[in-house]
Structure formats: C-alpha cells, structure tokens
Symmetry: C2
Subunit: 333 residues, 2 copies
DNA sequence: CCGTAACCTGCAAACGGTTGTAAAGAATAC
DNA sequence: GTATTCTTTACAACCGTTTGCAGGTTACGG
C-alpha cells in the first residue's frame, strides 16, 4: 500500500540499508548515491514509518501530555505551546485528560508508556509515591510539583504573590484574605507562604480562607465567608475562583472593586474578558509548556539520569478588580 | 528492557503465538492455557507493544485531531470529549495545532499519516480540493465543513439562528444586524441564510455587517459600524466577537442590553463569565467531538467506503445580553 | 475400531525499518 | 608493487507482534 524503504531501494537499484542510512546517517553514504536516493524517495513520496523505526531504535518520537482537565482555561495555552515546540523538535504529542481521576491517570500512563519516549505531567493528581514509582520506567517531567528524582517546571507563584500583596498594601488595604486552593496543591502552599511573609513585611493582617474548589463555583461558595471575614482585599487561588467570588459578592451586595479588591491567578482569557477585568498574577503557561518539553527531551536523551529544575518568573498585571481600600483616597496611577 | 510476549511465553512454557492469541483471539486458545498465560502476563506486568502490533495489523489505534487554535475557547470542550471517547474505544489521540496555517496543516497531516488510522479535521483551513486529495490516502472526518466523499459532522447553526431571530423579534426588535465571520466560513454562510429566512418571516429588517475576524478584536472593530447601522439587536459570529462588540459599544456609550441586544454563538466559558452574561446559541461541541470520533472509527473499519453525515442540533440560551427593544415594554418572563 | 472433524498449539514468515559486520574497491603509504 | 587503511555498499539479524499453515490430540459417529 504505502511506499516503503524497499520500494525506494528497488527503484534506485541499491540495498535497503543504503536507503535507510541516507535518512538516518547521511554521512555514511556517498554524495551521488545519496542524491539519487533522495530524488527517488521524493518522487515516490516516501515517508519513513515512525512506528517501524521505533521498534528497532526504541525511540518513538512521541510524547505524552497529561492534564487534569483540558477545558480548564489554564491548560490550553500550555498544551498549545508544548505541542508546537515538540513539533519543532520532530515529536508528536498525545494529549490526554484524566478528568481529575488519579486511577485514570495511572492507567493512562501505563497504556501510553510503550508509545512515548516520555510524559509531561501537569498538576498531577497522583501521589508523589506513585509518580516516583512510575518514574523508574519512563522519563517524566512534572509541572508545578516537586517529585524526587524527576525534572520539574515550577512557576514562581511566590514572587507573583508578593507583588500582589505589595500592590494591595500600596492601595491602602490593611486586612488581606487568601482563598487557598484544593488540599495538597503545591502552588497553593507556595502562595500561602509568600503571602504570609509579604503581609508581615507590609504590616498587613492575613486571613487564609479555604480550602476551596479551583472553580468558579468554589469562588461563589466562598463569598459569604469573605464578606464576613472583615478583609478588604482578597487574593484568589486562580482566575476562575476570583470570578466566582466577584459574582458571589455581587449577589451579597458587595461591589468589586469599590467595596472589595480581588486578585486572580493565571491570567486566563476568562479573567481578561470578565467585567470588571481581573487584576491577576500572570502565570507563564506557554513558557511552562515549552520548558517542560525541553527538559523532557533532555531527560530522554540522557536516559533520565539527571533531574533538572526550571523556575519560571511570574508577574502581576493590574486591571480593574483592585482599587483603593474603602475610605482611602485613590493614589491614582 | 520492557517485558515482551517472549518473556511471557518462556515463563509460561508455551509458544509466543499462543501468548499473542491469548490477547488478540482468546477463543482460539483453551481455557486452562489462557488462564495460565494471563496469570503470568499479569505477574510480569506485560503490556502489548502497540507499535509492533501496528506493524503487522496496519492499525495503529491512534487518531489525529487537528484544530486551528487550541487556545480558542471553542475547541477545548471538543478536544476533551473526542479524546475521552477515543479512549473508551481504546484509541489514543494526537492533538495538533496549525496556528491557522494551511501549509502547516498539510505537512502535519502527512507526517501524522503513518502513525494514525484517521484524522479529525476541525474547521480546516485547507481548500476542499486539498482535503479531497488527502482523503484518498487516509480516512478523514471534517467538522463544520462539507467535503465530497468524506464523513462530516455539522452543527445545525441554522436552527439556532432561527431561534435567536425569533427571540429578538419577540422582544420587539424590528431591525437586526448580523456580524458575519471570516470569508469562506461554512457556518457563517449558514447563519446568513437562516437569518435571512427567519427575519423575512418575522418581518424584521436584516443587515449583514462583515466579514469580521473571529476574535474579540474583530468585535471591537465592528462596534462603530453596528452603532451607525440603526439596528437594535445583533447576532455575532461567535462569543468572542460578541464580547468584543459589547466592549466596543460600551466605549461608544451604547449599553448592552439597554440600548442594544447582543447574541453570541458557541456558549463558551468566556460568554458565561462575561458581564452581562451572554445570550448565546449553544453549539454542541462535546457531542461534535464524540460524533467525529465515532464516524472516523466507522470510516476506518470500512476503509472509508461510505461517507456519513451527522447533523447536531443547536439551541438558544437566553441570559442577560438581550432585552426588550428600546421603547418597547419588556414582556417579562 | 477407524475415519473424520474440531480443537489447540507450534512453526515461520511477514510488517518496515536499523545496525553490526563483512566484503569490495579506491586511496594512501612505504 | 604490496600492504594498509578508508570509504562505500551489501548482507542479515533483529525489534515485538500477528497470522496462515500444518501437525498433533481428542472426541464423536458409525
């Protein structure tokens, strides 16, 4: 059916191994032969069969990318970047969605294992232990998590949190709330830690409210607690939670940013389109996707002997959901 | 390295072909043998190597899913559903993003061809001609497009458009605008046609404004034209355009829905989170993803001899961006 | 008790490549 | 002119599975 290396060999009058080498080790074949083979191959429309190649080389040139929920707006930019960068490096990527189910995640990894050279795990739901175990069989890169022996891409949410705290302090807020994320979330922990330090330094009083589901719903549910806590500014676990919170507060008659300032995290489209437009901590998701693939291919090449760590900077973008604390004159911009 | 069929055969004391059949044609092997093999396989942690299997069977059990922009909120729900459904049918899916570039699209399809049993093309940027040509080599399913000889999944945007027109007519609007999409968009054409018919029937005057870029920016850019057109209600090409339009109108001092009603298309998260919440035509994106995979596997099984068409219903969800025409008493709900 | 069919299982050749080794010829050194 | 090395190509085994074919058992009907 499809044209194979053998067809090319026959048409050129050389042995298949010569054709093979023309593509995999061109310097081992003389220039005239190489050119002849290439010409014939092009004419016949020959494309090497990667699956067959994988069988002998042990390299599939495929990658797996596993996320908990493709539809969560945090992921698509990461997926897009990872996929584009992988393609540049001549890799294809399987994208899989675990629906937040750790069991599905493990099963998925297992069936994928034979077909890929490595896997990027974004915000995995599996325990560290389980991941370490799997890491023995296959190169992994985890994003926003630390697992012993594995490469990791971390977004420096701590720094972004500091910026947000300083921004709010500068607007005259004295009491700050933090809507934490799901239990066991690495980034939520980082945020708490950084917020505590920065609040102390800026002489703010910090109240942690949570854990909360990382969704709009989670934000809505937290609205009453936030209003009753006495804070005038809140940093939410992510944009979705922030948006939900704003909606929930609105139903309680508390307006954002007039009565309460709200900061999100991620800088998703959703936050950009929300009214009021969200002040948010920018997560470098496209860079994270690229870096993850980069580290993964590195790990693949050295058979996962070294575990590299990359930390990506975050930033704060001020939009409309934060303003001077009630009773404080706006210092303006 | 990994455990192969041979290891299992050796450990069980049978020939490799028996092990192979245990998994691929269990009824051909006696119950005791089968159970012994299965037990040993389980103990050794054997997993069939799909690439090797693909070599002999010609079935990779992989699918390609090609979209123009993963980050566009229209796609993720479709990708998620397609991927989940494929997994149920024991297929893995490569997701690729063409960045709206037809050349990249074609090259991508070519390199993917040997690795997949078929490809789902969502809103392709290639010409019909090019797709037809590729269709000779590989099973395809196109979503929201009609290509001779290929299976297609179509969303009945026409019906949704009719519903929207009727909804607006019921609110007392007499002059209606339609923000069309990019030139050559199948769904934009469907919308125009349906809107014309429904407007005629409801005795509305219809003005088509466009083409417009399918983005928020495109909506902003159209704001002036919309205000000056004299219409009191607009159906936009998609949610993003609708959101942009609302923003653009706001800057011109035209409030939605008080001064102008706006209807979107797609029902993306973005529209749900927007203020005012968007009245929009619901596109069945998850269903489209599932159906596309379904038709594709069907085409794969019969070697693409038949081309099936599926048309999916759309619906209208009324939220906050539409209201009674200026000067007309709201009939209420 | 034999012939035949049904059922299991083993053998070996694919599938489309890669790669270590060998052989042939050309080039270089002495 | 011969020995040595280098370059180029061919040969063949192998990667992990599947599958047509054939041989060996067992069961069954007559």
């Amino acid at each position: 059916m499809a044209v194979t290396i053998r067809d090319v060999a026959r048409a050129t009058g050389v042995h298949v191994s010569t054709v093979s080498r023309t593509f995999s080790a061109p310097n081992l074949v003389s220039t005239p032969t190489r050119e002849r083979v290439m010409a014939v191959a092009a004419e016949l429309g020959y494309r090497p069969n990667r699956a067959a190649r994988a069988l002998t080389t042990g390299r599939t040139h495929n990658l797996g990318l596993i996320v908990s929920d493709i539809a969560n707006p945090f992921f698509p930019p990461l997926i897009k970047a990872a996929q584009a960068y992988a393609r540049e490096r001549e890799y294809h990527v399987f994208v899989a969605d675990t629906d937040e189910d750790p069991q599905a995640e493990e099963e998925l990894i297992r069936t994928l294992a034979k077909q890929v050279d490595g896997v990027v795990l974004v915000a995995p739901r599996l325990t560290n232990q389980a991941i370490e175990r799997l890491g023995l069989e296959l190169p992994f890169v985890v994003v926003n998590r630390r697992v012993k022996g594995l490469s990791a891409v971390l977004m420096d949410i701590g720094h972004g949190t500091e910026l947000a705290v300083e921004h709010l302090a500068g607007l005259g807020h004295r009491r700050l709330g933090l809507l934490s994320g799901p239990r066991g979330s690495w980034s939520s922990e980082q945020m708490k830690r950084a917020a505590a330090v920065a609040a102390e330094r800026a002489d703010l009083r910090l109240t942690v409210i949570g854990p909360n589901a990382p969704t709009e719903r989670g934000g809505i549910a937290a609205a009453t607690a936030v209003r009753d806590s006495g804070v005038t500014a809140v940093i939410a676990y992510n944009d979705l939670v922030a948006i939900g919170l704003i909606e929930g507060l609105g139903e309680l008659g508390t307006e954002v940013p007039a009565d309460m300032s709200v900061v999100g995290v991620d800088d998703t489209v959703a936050g950009r389109l929300n009214r009021p437009k969200l002040t948010t901590i920018v997560m470098p998701t496209p860079a994270a996707g690229r870096t993850a693939v980069d580290l993964l291919l590195q790990a693949v090449d050295e058979d996962g002997r070294t575990a590299a760590q990359a930390t990506l900077a975050t930033d704060l973008v001020v939009r409309e959901s934060t303003a001077a604390a009630p009773g404080v004159a706006d210092t303006g911009a």
